[in-house]
Amino acid sequence: MGRYIVRQILWLIPVLFFISVITFALAHAVPGGPFDREKALPPEIIANLEKYYGLDKPIWRQYVDYIGGIVTRFDFGPVYSSRSRRVNDIFADHLPVSAQLGVVAMVIALGIGLPLGIIAALKQNTMWDYLGIGVAVFGVSVPNIVLGPLLILIFALTLGWFPVAGWGTPAKMIMPSFALGTSYAARIARLTRASMLQVIREDYIRTARAKGLSERLVMVRHALKNAFIPVATIIGPMFAAVVTGTFVVEQIFAIPGMGKYFITSVTQRDYPVVMGTILLYAFFLVLANLAVDVTYAFLDPRIRYT
């Protein structure tokens, strides 16, 4: 187990190296510098600017400086469109908002998905089951890009229960988090139901019942823990989907998070911001996948990693 984790962590190094090289190469392969204006700047000024930002150095040197800056000083570089702010300032201002949104959405996804799936499986072929499946089918098919505007139309504009947009108060947080979390709640419910149904037919559940354990104990200790194994695998991809989902949901609900800033910087070709965001998010996602792998091994002792 310990060796497995160490090996997975070592495997992160080539992955992160590759991600950073690809990101850096694509961002720098773009023709035209970041200082192309509608009215062309004099070449001397461009040369000065390039010197100031280190863009006159060879490309490998720029890469080393950039990565070195991140690793040693946690400095993601300058923002071309604003002289007074650096990428770190943008992270400091906007990342916490996105993180809040993502965490609340994941809590919703797990908080609704797991119970729904478990109830549907325990009460198979009853009204509860059909309700669960119905909600799951709806949730899986309706992407957040559709759900967001629909929630605004129904609950903010027609019923007036929630504010239309913004962030900061609990009332403002409910709709965006639901828009982001619902589709994963549905996926989790579906998977939990399927895996519960499979587990409760296993011999060891019959054995547990036969030796006279209470139904609650059988379900919680024997069924749930095993049913959760396949569900754990979906949490890695879910983390990725929530991260990119924030790009959409923040735009729809006018939330001042990273997503909205990221999209503006993509359209303005402010590459240090794009690159910094992608690198940071990729790093989180790779870590999340590692965490899922470890959880997986922890939940299922049959898996022996060597």
Binding site: F18, I19, A29, V30, P143, V146, P149
Partner: protein
Amino acid sequence: MTTEQLSVQEQAAKRLSERVGRPANLWRDAWERLLRNRAAVLGGIIVVLLVLAAVIAPYVAPYHYAEGDSNEAYTVPAWLARILPGNIEAYAQISDKFLFGSDYLGRDLLSRLIYGTRVSLPVGFAGAMTAFIVGIIYGSISGYYGGKVDNIMMRIVDILYAFPTTLLIILMMAFFKSTFAQVEPGTIAYSFNQVNDVVDGLLGLQGGGMLFIFLGVGLTAWMGMARLARGQILSLKQKEFIEAAHMIGANDMRIIVRHILPNIIGPCIVSQTLTIPVYINYEVFLSFIGLGVDPPTPSWGAMISDGSRAIRSYPHMVLFPAMALALTMFAFNFLGDGLRDALDPKMKGSS
């Protein structure tokens, strides 16, 4: 419990006896199972209608998708104004001229929705086709030859797989958008643009940059397929009939194409059908954040993006594209689930 099981067995026996004298056929059996699934049939009908709408768009769309009169901008359809009176701007133009209203440039929303199928559906199908072909070839080679080849090929997939797909597509689209924006004749970028014009022309769109979206989706789509195909082949190549084929002197190519592929193609088709909505979603997402098709080519994602900005005053602008997208997603998901259950009954209920 026992009576229920018996009756299931009896039914199976009855079905078997009806089939006596008729050779077992994977595709016919699957087709019959599919037809029995009502949700899948409904999904299939909607998919066919959407494809039809894309093909005959010029004949069914009441107006041109890119032309509008700015005097008619933000027209709200009269029937919607009756249903949602409180949500619409007091000074909005209300008219029966456009069934679904018009957008901020006075372009007919219905026509743009219909032409939007020419963006969404090709992306879905092209993504699935690319993933299918590249993934199967890559996966078969890796799985069949095994050893060092397999190790290297799968490590490459592992690394690519670790890269979050959506972020990679965003990055590539940003790269494509700026690299292929303006170019002189004679460069590689110029030839790409020529190919892209052909692709756009084939789809009946005036510009739009569809090739780049195909590239972005295709380049990221095949990894999952390659893993699946490899896994399938690994379990197959130990089987006796493959050994037998080796013994009678069949070469590798023949064994892969004639003996292995027919056996793994079912799960591969199922996995790609289930992924079509994902590819459609990628395009919608890209167009939503402004990295998808170029205006004035209509994309549902761009329409939702425009509409969500005007949602307080003109809800029709976001309502109809959102509904169209949701309907498409339902249709493909139902059809995909039905196909999976039909082609591989063992997988039923899993997701």
